[in-house]
């Protein structure tokens, strides 16, 4: 699997989804159906303030906030010239178990 990683500290979350303005080049690199290795978009949402990003202590290493993923495979072409706003469901958190389940599905020949 190949990942396009992005991060943002803007207020992009609503009740159900994260709306992220993706550059056209990235959008086209992710939406075309014919790739050997499947691609997904991963967007990490960060606090506005840099000092809030990470907290170290002996108990924990805490990183704020979290990342979301989506496959844009098969999405339509666009007439936009700079960016396309893509929606990532809030249920698509990019967690260890989500990643494991994606890898599992791919190994069974199921596209994401």
């Amino acid at each position: 699997m190949e990942l396009q990683l992005k991060s943002t500290s803007r207020d992009v979350l609503d009740d159900n989804q994260l709306r992220y303005p993706l550059k056209i080049k990235n959008y086209n690199d992710l939406r075309l159906p014919d790739f050997v290795i499947p691609r997904i978009l991963v967007v990490l949402v960060l606090p506005e303030n840099l000092t809030d990003w990470l907290q170290h202590s002996e108990e924990e290493l805490c990183m704020r906030y979290c990342a979301y993923w989506i496959s844009l495979r098969g999405m339509p072409d666009t007439k936009n010239t700079a960016t396309v706003t893509v929606s990532l469901p809030r249920s698509h958190q990019f967690t260890v178990s989500a990643l494991q389940s994606m890898m599992q599905r791919l190994s069974q020949g199921v596209l994401l």
Partner: protein, 182 residues
């Protein structure tokens, strides 16, 4: 110096078929398909374990060039050769191999010159294969003698695949293989 091949046009011009022939000739085997657009090839190495190549099935894929680049990178590691060497061998179409085998069949000799087509049985990759070749002069006589005396031969040549059959071209250094009964 390690040179990484990133010439897009050059990599694009390589057909999956050329790589398949190369991989078979170098001991790789098809393991299983990967999703819709690729095949996983494996090679076992006694010392270093298992190597894997993900080979695209067609050239019109978005990441074709990247995958071919990776395949060449892996081949360079496995064979301890430069990527440029491997690419030029792939582009030339025929891979230089040392073939050890027996003469299986001698076609009717050409009437005008001392030459003819010969079918060899030898190991390509990990399997015994029929390999067609054209021999002339002394090499042809040697092949006939090897056939009559059931003696293995060894030679150098460029292996390619034509119409589904292995063909050995530019055969040289053909001799009786004295090592087989030691």
């Amino acid at each position: 110096m390690n040179v990484t091949v990133r010439d897009v046009e050059c990599l694009k011009s390589l057909e999956p078929k050329q790589l398949q022939v190369y991989l078979k000739a170098h001991g790789w085997y098809e393991d299983r398909p990967f999703l819709d657009n690729a095949m996983i090839w494996l090679k076992q190495d006694e010392q270093r374990g298992e190597f894997e190549i993900l080979l695209p099935l067609t050239t019109n894929l978005g990441d074709y060039v990247t995958r071919i680049g990776e395949a060449i990178e892996t081949l360079a590691v496995v064979e301890s050769r430069s990527q440029v060497e491997i690419l030029s061998e792939l582009l030339s179409g025929g891979q230089t191999i040392t073939l050890q085998g027996v003469v299986m069949h001698i076609n009717t000799p050409n009437s005008d010159t001392l030459s003819g087509q010969v079918t060899l049985l030898g190991v390509v990759g990990d399997k015994l294969r029929k390999i067609k070749t054209k021999l002339t002069g002394y090499d042809y006589i040697l092949a006939v003698k090897a056939y009559q005396e059931r003696c293995p031969i060894i030679c150098l040549g460029e292996l390619s695949k034509e119409n589904g059959s292995f063909v050995l071209k530019n055969v040289r250094d053909l001799m009786f293989d004295e090592s087989w009964d030691h």
